[in-house]
């Protein structure tokens, strides 16, 4: 089951560049939350702070607190433990190119020392079914490389790979921006199904996409969060002038 996320006074830097400034935000459990905003506004940096991927860059720095469920991720745990509880799907599909479809899905477990074959088989099947890819690949699980799939299939493979570790939160950083419309709608359907079991945070450039999949939407601008509210309110009656300018297409 998903858990809520409580962000308090989060600041992030790349070198001397202050990319996130004083973010405060409560993300509800078992819902999809969309983050919108123009390029370079900090929304990607923000989700990377939620699984401590931000700090894998040697010049990056973070202050503030992020609570996921009852865990303060910057105080109580190591990054590798956080990342098993908070899965991530990236903008470009990034399957492991030398691994089979099966091994791609099993990678997170296998590389962390899990080796029960029967259970692995079950988890792989379940994860691929959850990501709506099972029927398309079930005959080639061990024969084909993850890189041999189409772009949209690769992205669903990456979602299956993230789900196999059994996370509570799923971060998606523009998961459909490199895909065609048909693949995009499959990913969106998937987000719709998955949010009953996981807390989903999705970064998107596509405002219609935010409106379609998310209950809550946050608008980021220049490293600050301008407005966070129900998606319906953000798109029909935003409280902030800047939000209104952005969603009506006056800039960005």
């Amino acid at each position: 089951m998903g858990v809520g996320i409580e962000v308090t006074n989060l600041n992030a830097w790349y070198g001397t560049n202050h990319t996130l400034q004083d973010i405060n935000l409560n993300i509800p459990a078992n819902h999809a939350t969309a983050l919108i905003g123009p390029s370079g506004c900090g929304k990607s940096t923000f989700v990377r702070c939620l699984n401590r991927m931000h700090e894998t860059n040697p010049i990056a720095r973070v202050t503030g607190s992020v609570r996921i469920g009852d865990l303060d991720i910057y105080q109580d745990a190591k990054p590798v433990e956080i990342r098993r509880r908070v899965g991530m799907v990236f903008q470009r599909p990034n399957p492991f190119p030398t691994m089979s479809i099966y091994d791609n899905v099993a990678a997170g477990l296998k590389l962390n020392g899990f080796s029960n074959r029967r259970e692995l088989d079950e988890i792989v099947e379940k994860s691929l079914k959850n990501s709506a890819l099972w029927d398309e690949v079930k005959d080639d699980l061990r024969k084909k490389s993850g890189a041999s799939l189409s772009g949209g299939q690769q992205q669903r493979l990456c979602i299956a790979r993230a789900l196999a570790v059994d996370p509570e939160v799923l971060l998606m950083d523009e998961p459909a921006s490199a895909l065609d419309p048909v693949s995009t709608s499959k990913i969106e359907d998937l987000i719709f199904q998955l949010k009953s079991q996981y807390t989903i945070v999705i970064v998107t450039h596509n405002m219609q996409q935010a409106a379609r999949v998310a209950e809550k939407t946050g608008f980021f601008l220049n490293g600050r969060m301008v407005e966070f509210d129900s998606t319906h309110k953000i798109f029909t009656n935003p409280s902030d002038k800047r939000t209104e300018d952005y969603i009506t297409g006056r800039f960005g």
């Binding site: 509880r85 899965g87 990034n94 030398t98 997170g108 590389l111 080639d140 490389s145």
Partner: protein, 288 residues
């Protein structure tokens, strides 16, 4: 306007053909010497190949016949030992440079040293192994020869492994870290595995290069007219045997030297092909 367009398109077609022709010509220039050498070796050496060549040790001076069985086995022993030393150290250093030491002074120093080492003449490598191994042991040995060749393999493998690892897309590393895989595990199981075809190519290049080396063996492995596989004694090697026979005044030895050169090249090609075959068996459909 229209004629100008026609002219321009004709010019483009011409440059296109010219560029293709130059590329094809360059390829031919590169491949010709290789094929020429191989054909020449076949002509000069093939006639002297017989069962005795592969089963007998060299005949005493003045007698006709004999073979290079001890040199073939000796080369295999030396190259095996050299690979045991050169491959793990080379790949290990390459992984350090690409994954852990990026941007550090240490990495800079190692990279610089490797590049210098790559340019050191092979006879100097032999001298180094002579003073490091032969002098303390007070005798020539296969071990000393293997050390000399192994050290020669390190810089090539190290630098090519580094380059190959740096070519692995950042997204693949991020995917592994994003799954909660510890960094060292992600490096070994994902990055190195993804780069492994290129790393293996680098190892094969280094292997093929030292397989034909004579100079570093002159005062390390020394050569041996008799049968020996002991690491502690001087050992025969194909390049050494070819060198000695080619410089001799006897026609029979000259013929054996040609045959030896042919066998050396064929064995290198076979070894490289075998490794390629073995390492490509597990590769899946559609792997990019």
């Amino acid at each position: 306007m229209r004629t100008e367009y026609k002219l321009r398109s004709r010019f483009r077609a011409f440059t296109d053909h010219a560029a293709t022709a130059i590329a094809v010509l360059s390829t031919i220039v590169v491949v010709t010497p290789l094929i020429a050498i191989f054909i020449y070796l076949l002509i000069r050496g093939f006639g002297s190949l017989n069962v005795a060549f592969f089963t007998k040790v060299p005949a005493p001076v003045g007698e006709i016949g004999g073979g290079m069985a001890n040199a073939i086995v000796g080369s295999a022993v030396l190259l095996g030992l050299a690979s045991l030393i050169g491959v793990p150290i080379g790949i290990g250093a390459g992984i350090y440079l690409a994954e852990f030491g990026r941007g550090t002074r240490m990495a800079y120093a190692i990279r610089f040293t490797a590049d210098v080492l790559n340019g050191v003449p092979s006879i100097v490598m032999g001298l180094a192994a002579f003073s490091l191994v032969v002098i303390p042991q007070k005798h020539f040995s296969a071990f000393a020869g293997g050390v000399a060749l192994g050290i020669m393999m390190i810089p090539t493998i190290c630098r090519s492994s580094e380059e190959m690892l740096l070519m692995v897309p950042h997204a693949v590393r991020e995917a592994a870290l994003g799954l909660g895989v510890p960094n060292w595990r992600a490096v070994l199981s994902i990055t190195v595995k993804t780069a492994s075809p290129g790393i293996i190519t680098g190892c094969m290049l280094a292997f093929a290069r030292v397989a034909g080396e004579t100079a570093p063996l002159l005062f390390t492995a020394l050569g041996n007219q008799f049968w020996s596989t002991s690491l502690n004694e001087p050992i025969a090697a194909l390049p050494l045997q070819i060198y000695v026979y080619a410089l001799s005044p006897y026609d029979d030895w000259h013929r054996l030297a040609w045959a030896g050169a042919l066998v050396l090249i064929v064995l290198i090609v076979l070894a490289v092909s075998l490794v390629r075959y073995v390492t490509s068996r597990g590769v899946l459909k559609g792997t990019s």
